[in-house]
């Protein structure tokens, strides 16, 4: 009974804490845990009517608290051309710390871990249009954050392929971002790296430039099969591969197979949408063109015939 009472008091206390006034950022960070991250409500304090309106509805009327899953909550006023008083106000909240990178728009709800790394964010007019919508996004982020932390914990105690599997699963969580060093400072994750060159091009794509379609196919197949890449990375590899096939005059069937597989890795991601758009933009017209050609001509387009799967095919090249 006493235990229950104390628990209730504790919960009530933590829920009231944010409303008693903004806690110091460092204090709030210290309170963040693997189950309860820090939620920052960053808003334009002296220049933005939208922020003022949302602050009134979200914070003053406490609507957003219903969705915060008991997370530590902190209001961060963002000032435009701050005067001395405003600078003091900001410093009172943030001290000398800067906001985590990745915040692109105010007002927003930034979910931050105990190290001050941004792990998820609700931002933009669509997501922040009302407390209910923003709250739904926030709940999803916090749930994913908790889940991701669990996976990272498992990864830290696992080894080899098993560790990589946990890490890849954590990296694939859609609404949250991975922390900078998930296994600790200086410890390599073993996840594959898709470095880019100085112009921003994927190095795997650059390597493929001089490969035949067959060689590129084998190369990509080996990359994707080793399991060291997250879903997004696999989509990027497929995009590079598809680009190479397209520019090398590969067949419509092959392109369709690659883009379909790329989309199916994660249809809701940006590269899922990219693959869908690519089918409309390049595959459909090519299919029409190929269908209009005599049968003998259609086999000479360089894409080869045979089984039309993107990966694991036995295509003749």
């Amino acid at each position: 009974m006493l235990k229950n009472f104390l628990t209730m008091m504790l919960m009530l206390g933590s829920a009231l804490l944010p409303l008693l006034g903004a806690a110091e950022y460092q204090t709030a960070l210290a309170k963040a845990t693997e189950r309860k991250p820090l939620v920052l409500f960053c808003y334009g304090a002296n220049y933005d009517k939208v922020s003022a309106d949302l602050r009134e509805r979200f914070v003053r009327k406490r609507e957003i608290m219903r969705y915060a899953r008991g997370a530590v909550f902190l209001e961060v006023p963002i000032y435009q051309l701050p005067n001395e008083k405003e600078q003091r106000e900001y410093k009172k909240v943030m001290g000398d710390a800067g906001l985590p990178g990745g915040i692109w728009s105010y007002p927003c709800l930034a979910v931050v871990d105990g190290k001050g790394t941004l792990r998820g964010i609700v931002q933009g007019a669509e997501q922040m249009k009302d407390a209910e919508t923003a709250g739904a996004y926030l709940e999803r982020i916090i749930d994913d954050y908790v889940e991701q932390e669990k996976l990272l914990k498992k990864a830290r105690s696992a080894k080899g392929k098993r560790q990589i599997t946990f890490l890849a699963e954590a990296a694939d969580m859609k609404d949250v971002r991975m922390p900078g060093n998930p296994l600790g400072e200086g410890v390599s994750t073993g996840l594959g790296s898709l470095a880019t060159n100085a112009t921003g091009m994927l190095e795997v794509g650059q390597k493929m430039q001089t490969m035949s379609l067959e060689a590129a196919h084998k190369y990509v197949r080996a990359l994707v099969a080793d399991g060291f890449y997250s879903r997004r990375q696999r989509q990027e590899i497929m995009a590079a591969y598809a680009g190479h096939v397209r520019r090398s005059g590969g067949s419509a069937a092959r392109m369709r197979a690659i883009y379909t597989e790329m989309r199916n890795i994660d249809p809701t991601s940006i590269y899922g949408a990219y693959a869908e758009g690519a089918i409309e933009r390049w595959v459909l017209p090519k299919e029409k063109a190929e269908a209009a050609k005599p049968a003998s001509a259609s086999t000479s387009t360089g894409g080869g015939s045979g089984k039309n799967t993107a990966m694991g095919s036995t295509e003749k090249n």
Partner: protein, 891 residues
């Protein structure tokens, strides 16, 4: 189509761009074409050029055609987006047409330098000259200038006081001319003319100051200026628009509104602007009582007319800012903007892409930042020349597949996939513009950057070079200095208003053949506000017309510009002098010493570069053009070097200019050949004289670097070598002391006395170190940034024609092995032939064996296949045997 239906459609458009209904808009946009939202094409005609129909004696247009940037006589077919094809696409009104989706060539962002606009004459009415008016007043004495300055200050203070009383506005209204009266603008004009001339006592200086004290008189002056700028026919065309007469009545009754239209920046194509404004007025007449809505409407209409954008785009842009303002979605800064600065926002360029309501709305809703935050907003885009699929940013394939997902929204598409400098800078600038904050993109050589106004200060972002070409300008001049001048001019807006009104009065008096009064008003205008660029240009035009041989008046203008405008705005003052003053003044001044004094007086004001580094070449060239013979030119060159070599900021630039000048002098006849040699010697002598101490070594190093770079750009091998050797003598400690080890080729090094040129654009940080380029050819080695891409690589001009045995190139780090190098040779540096070469890459050393081919050539270039690769080269040596008998130099 009924008015209600049009209103309904526009309301829907406003809701779309203002709210969260982008997806709905996309559906509408992709639906079959609907009825046009905008007005009929019959309303598109340019009313600013209808002066021919106005009676000769009171032709208002003829009096005010001085405007540098505008072409008032352009016909309607120039209207962007108003061709026949667009007529069927009205369903896309206000949406993103995808023009921002393909990255432009980075070299195209730098606006092309427009030739100086000719000064346009003020036409005079065919009326008798009043006694005493056909006299050009003499030079103003200090008493007259002081009095004008005091009066202007007092008047500006009175304007400010009046505005303070009325919440930032004059709030002066007077409904003298009913809507129907505007159908007869000649009658109104005559009435106003009589009032103005009688109250100013035909431009009597004292009466003019008293005249401007009364808001009623100021309103009359604004009205008459409006008619003069638009013309009778233009005004009549406005009255023919729906609610056109009502607009003219409302506009001419409100001093704030009419001043915002007439005195807030350039007024090119104002007739078209009023037609646009009438269109907005007819659709939103109930909202037009609000001063902010009036401001949005007037600035959008005037700017879209000036930029020759279509009415359809204009309405869509107005709807975006109007709805965003009403819904409180803009930064609070927007609420208090003046007319001139609102023009930068509502009149922002690219109405079909980055500036489309759809893209603006997306940025407004997804990139909401405090004003200073937009300086870093470019970082929200990933810099990618090729996307993950390997498609180039310069092709439509780069973003193509995600356009459906991003609903064809320029900013959104780039944020998802990435972009290069153009997209990153547009993203930052249009993010600010979408929130109602003044900002603009700007070109730099081979690059795009942007600027955002923070407080009253313009700040650059993403900039890598000193040369900036602003993309939104008032006076047709793109340099940074003019942006800051515009800001300072209108920050001091009450004085500027006094000055603008005086110019309007001067032009009116000039058209009435009252030269004395007109010049008095011009004098007062430039004294009242010396930063008033249009006032200077207008005054110069009048002087050119009425007193082209009056040395005293031109000298007075010169001295005023030097004493006032040149103090902060060196570039603007230099432009004004070199374009409009020197061409008249210098030929009237035969005394070389006096001319040199003028030159020295200007540069006395230049302690540093001013608001930004600027190109001094046009000013120096204008002076040079005033020198009647080579002897005078040489003397001037000497004077220029003497004055500017003592100014660290300018020493490199003046050397570069001198070298450019030498290169431009034709060397065909003996006299010019001699001149070139003398110049060359003079340049090197002057540089040799400059003492190098610990304190000055950086400045000397920088100046020599800039000069050697210019010599290399001009292909001036002799000067390149001379400066290289000189720099080694004067700044020895700046050179490395490498001892390279590599296998050489047979023969001697034939490149050490040659010239090396890089294909890359140097950053400001690299420019001072260009003497190290020369050192790359020497045994000690140096450093030169390189770029290999296609036909871009490293080019060497050899000492003379030579038979080549090989070349060695040493990189600063291990060379990439994924692409082959190739060698080409040429006799003239223009026509190149590939050479059979065996190029080996070993760490940082490239050795190309040319012995098999053994080509004879004067120029050699090293290229590399494939994508761009930027590297650093520390040594470059070409081996072979000189063929002296073929030397061009011996001829």
């Amino acid at each position: 189509m009924s008015t209600n239906l049009v209103k309904l459609l526009l309301s829907a458009l406003a809701a779309m761009v203002g709210g969260y209904l982008i997806s709905w808009m996309y559906e509408i946009a992709t639906a079959p074409p609907a009825a046009p939202v905008a007005a009929t094409t019959s309303q598109q005609s340019d009313v600013g050029s209808g002066a021919e129909d106005v009676p000769e004696d009171v032709d208002p247009v003829k009096g005010v055609v001085i405007d540098e940037g505008g072409d008032v006589s352009a016909n309607d077919s120039d209207m962007v987006g108003m061709d026949a094809d667009d007529e069927d696409e009205s369903a896309w009104a206000g949406t993103d047409d995808g023009t921002g989706l393909i990255e432009r060539d980075p070299d195209s962002f730098m606006p092309k330098e427009a030739p100086p606009a000719p000064l346009k004459e003020i036409a005079e009415a065919d009326i008798p000259v009043l006694p005493g008016q056909d006299v050009m007043p003499g030079v103003c004495d200090s008493k007259t200038n002081g009095s004008a300055e005091r009066n202007a200050k007092k008047l500006a203070a009175a304007y400010e006081k009046l505005e303070k009383k009325n919440d930032g506005r004059t709030n002066y209204h007077s409904e003298d001319f009913a809507p129907d009266m505007w159908k007869k603008p000649d009658v109104i004009y005559k009435d106003l003319l009589e009032r103005v001339l009688s109250k100013t006592k035909n431009g009597d200086p004292e009466a003019v100051w008293q005249f401007l004290e009364d808001p009623a008189n100021r309103l009359d002056l604004a009205r008459i200026t409006l008619i003069r700028k638009v013309g009778y026919e233009g005004i009549r065309k406005v009255t023919e628009q729906k609610m056109g007469s009502a607009l003219l009545f409302a506009l001419s009754s409100d001093l704030d509104w009419i001043n915002g239209v007439v005195f807030s920046g350039p007024t090119d194509r104002l007739g078209q602007g009023l037609i646009y404004l009438a269109k907005i007025y007819s659709l939103y007449s109930e909202d037009m009582q609000d001063p902010v809505t009036r401001r949005i409407a007037a600035t959008t209409a005037t700017e879209f007319a000036r930029e020759r954008y279509s009415e359809k785009d204009m309405i869509a842009r107005f709807a975006y800012y109007f709805s965003s303002y009403q819904e409180g979605k803009l930064n609070v800064i927007f609420d208090d903007l003046q007319y001139w600065e609102t023009r930068l926002v509502t009149g922002c360029t690219e109405p079909g892409g980055w500036g489309s309501p759809q893209s603006l709305a997306w940025q407004r809703d997804n990139v909401r930042l405090p004003v200073e935050g937009y300086l870093g907003a470019c970082g929200q885009l990933v810099y990618r020349l090729r996307n993950v699929a390997g498609d180039s940013v310069f092709s439509s394939d780069y973003l193509g597949p995600i356009l459906k997902y991003t609903k064809n929204t320029t900013a959104w598409a780039h944020r998802e996939i990435g972009g290069v400098c153009g997209a990153c800078s547009h993203y930052g600038a249009y993010g600010a513009l979408a929130a109602g904050i003044p900002a603009m993109t700007m070109g730099e050589p081979g690059h795009c950057a942007y600027a955002v106004r923070v407080g009253t200060e313009w700040k650059m972002s993403y900039s890598i070079y000193w040369e900036h070409g602003m993309h939104k300008v008032f006076w047709g001049l793109h340099d940074w200095d003019f942006l800051i001048l515009m800001q300072d001019l209108y920050t001091d807006r009450h004085k500027t208003m006094v000055s603008d009104e005086l110019v309007a009065l001067a032009e009116l008096l000039a058209s009435r053949r009252m030269m004395k009064s007109a010049v008095n008003c011009f004098d007062a205008a430039v004294v009242a506000q010396p930063l008033n660029w249009p006032a200077w240009v207008s005054y110069a035009a009048y002087l050119k017309q009425k007193a082209p041989q009056n040395k005293a008046k031109w000298k007075e203008m010169h001295d005023r510009v030097v004493d006032t405008l040149a103090v902060k705005f060196h570039n603007c003052a230099a432009t004004l002098l070199s374009r409009y003053v020197y061409p008249h003044l210098l030929p009237l001044e035969p005394n070389r010493r006096e001319r040199n004094k003028m030159f020295a007086a200007f540069f006395k004001q230049c302690k540093g570069y001013g608001t930004n580094r600027w190109d001094i070449a046009p000013l120096l060239s204008a002076h040079m053009a005033g020198c009647p013979n080579p002897e005078e030119q040489l003397a001037y060159m000497k004077e220029a070097l003497n004055v500017l070599m003592d100014k660290p900021d300018y020493s490199g630039a003046v050397l570069a200019w001198g070298l450019d000048f030498i290169a431009s002098v034709p060397g065909s006849d003996a006299e010019n050949e001699k001149l070139q040699e003398e110049f060359s010697e003079l340049v090197v002598k002057t540089m040799s004289r400059a003492r190098t101490t610990k304190k000055t070594i950086d400045a000397t190093w920088g100046a020599l670097g800039e000069a050697i770079y210019t010599a290399a750009s001009n292909g001036d091998k002799r000067t390149f070598q001379a400066i290289g050797k000189l720099s080694y003598r004067k700044c020895k400690k700046m050179f490395p002391k490498n001892k390279f080890k590599f296998r050489a080729f047979p023969g001697k090094i034939v490149s050490a006395k040659g010239l090396i040129r890089t294909a890359t654009t140097l950053s400001p940080g690299q420019m001072p170190h260009c003497c190290l380029h020369w050192a790359v050819l020497q045994k000690t080695g140096g450093q030169i940034p390189a770029k290999f891409e296609g036909n871009s690589g490293m080019t060497i001009e050899l000492e003379n024609n030579a038979q080549l045995s090989g070349l060695v190139c040493l990189f600063g780090e291990n060379a990439r092995r994924d692409r082959d190098f190739k060698v080409e040779v040429s006799d003239d540096g223009q026509n190149w032939s590939p050479v059979r070469a065996k190029c080996e890459i070993s760490g940082a050393v490239i050795r190309c064996d040319l012995r098999d081919a053994a080509p004879c050539a004067r120029f050699v270039r090293l290229l590399r296949e494939g994508d761009k690769w930027e590297s650093s080269i520390v040594g470059f040596y070409v081996y072979g045997k000189l063929l002296k008998e073929k030397s061009e130099d011996k001829k």
